[in-house]
Amino acid sequence: MNIVTPELGLIFWQVVIFLIVLLLLRSFAWKPILSSLKERESSIEGALRMADQAKLEMQQLQAGNEKLLADARMERDRLLKEATAMSNQFIEQAKTKATEEGARMIEQAREAIRNEKNAALAEVKNTAAQLSIDIAERILRRELTDQPAQQQLVDSYLKEVKLN
């Protein structure tokens, strides 16, 4: 039968043309197409992996932020507590100091008053002594002349003298 007998011419052309097509398509079609497909698949895979990684990083970042925030809050509380304590201490110290100073000043004032008083008393005593001597001297001089007059004089003198 004709149709099951391969013909030499067609065998020849089939081999030649098929090999040409195979070689041309291999270098000009299949290689670029397959490498592009591979490249695209790997780029998609890479993008997906990167997205996953970014999500993970985001979560880590968020967790980190929260931790940081909590730390900051704790730190703030601690600082506030410390500051309050310190200010309380300062106030306490100032109060003590002020009380002490006041007491000291009062004491000083008292001392001064006491000194002044003593000085004044001493002066009064001196003055009184002086006066007594003066009066005594004058009396003594008057006595020599007139008794009533002397008495009068003493009285007048005494009138003059004002204690203090």
Binding site: L8, L10, W13, Q14, I17
Partner: protein, 350 residues
């Protein structure tokens, strides 16, 4: 050569040519001479000119170049028009579409026949289409495919993932160009064969024989020691049985590509024969009433052939990949390879 019927049909036997003068003069006997077998065989066979159609008595034919080599005369190249209607040129003539020399010496026929012309055309189409697809990738890089690129990408990815990767395994990349070329070559030529006026290229035994031979050569050249160990020392087979097993396995090596050759040839040729037979019914019954029925059946078969076109391309590629996979696989799995010589026998597929 004389076409005895209008539209599409021509008779080709020597007796028909011999009775030409009688037949042309007696129109009434013409349709009596209609021989569907000859008509169909002519249609699925090769010819030295490309006959498109006949209107009335005018034939619309493209005459293709005849290239012949004879030991004494050397190379002769001329148009097949010189041989039309049984003419003799440079001592050559056509006999049953076979180029023979008048003196009976051996003729080596390298003519650009209808099939060769169709083969060249399909090669051109393949190159144009797939360089266009490749240009899409060059232009868009890793971006989304568009146009013709997006039509062929899923098919290419299918051949890569479902055929090559699964059947060959990790070494699939080396064989991708051959598998893709074979797949699209067969598919495109199957489709071109279905077009009106198209040549029955993939239904030609020479073409399928060469495709199967390529597969055989690739399988043998990429085979590793496991492959040969399986043939000459089949694991799990008692030593006494080896004298029987070795010939069987050796025959299996050649039966596999042989089945590839026959399957593609038979499927495509059968489709053409069935379609033409349905059309012939009109002329056999000489009744217009038969026309709608036979046209409906013919259309059904033609649509079925569209499916068969891609199916056969897929089967050929898949089996090629499986044979290569069997030859290159490292770990030998006795159940996987060669379960009955040929995983999918012609009986199972179509």
């Amino acid at each position: 050569m004389k076409r005895l019927l209008f539209a599409l049909f021509c008779l080709l036997s020597l007796t028909a040519r011999a009775s030409e003068p009688v037949a042309t003069t007696a129109d009434a006997t013409e349709s009596e001479n209609f021989n569907p077998g000859e008509m169909i065989l002519h249609h699925i066979g090769d010819s030295h000119e490309w006959h498109w159609f006949t209107l009335g008595e005018t034939h619309y034919t493209t005459y293709l170049p005849v290239i012949a080599y004879r030991a004494g005369n050397g190379l002769s190249v001329f148009s097949s028009h010189e041989l039309a209607e049984g003419k003799v040129h440079e001592g050559l003539k056509l006999e049953h579409e076979h180029l023979v020399s008048e003196d009976g010496s051996k003729v080596y026929d390298f003519s650009i026949t209808k099939n060769v012309a169709s083969l060249m055309l399909s090669a051109l189409v393949l190159l144009v289409v797939f360089t266009a697809v490749a240009r899409g990738y060059a232009k868009r890089g890793t971006g989304a495919p568009r146009g013709i690129q997006s039509f062929f990408e899923p098919i290419i990815v299918f051949v890569r993932d479902e055929v090559a990767k699964k059947s060959i395994g990790p070494k699939y990349e080396r064989y991708m160009p051959y598998l893709l070329t074979v797949f699209f070559f067969i598919w495109f030529n199957n489709l071109m064969g279905l077009m009106p006026g198209g040549a029955n290229l993939t239904g030609n035994i020479a073409v399928t024989m060469m495709l199967a031979l390529f597969t055989l050569l690739i399988t043998l050249f990429s085979s590793n020691k496991n492959y040969w160990a399986h043939i000459f020392a089949t694991p799990g087979v008692p030593k006494l049985l080896l004298p029987i097993m070795i010939p069987v396995e050796l025959i299996g090596v050649f039966v596999k590509p042989f089945s590839l050759m026959v399957r593609l040839f038979a499927n495509i040729t059968a489709g053409h024969i069935v379609t033409l037979s349905f059309i012939s019914l009109i002329f056999i019954f000489r009744n217009l009433g038969v026309a709608p029925v036979s046209l409906a059946f013919g259309l059904f078969i033609n649509v079925l052939e569209l499916l068969v076109a891609i199916l056969q391309a897929y089967i050929f590629t898949l089996l090629t990949a499986m044979y290569i996979g069997g030859a290159v696989e490292d770990h030998h799995d006795a159940d996987y390879q060669m379960g009955g010589g040929d995983g999918a026998t012609p009986a199972q597929v179509h």
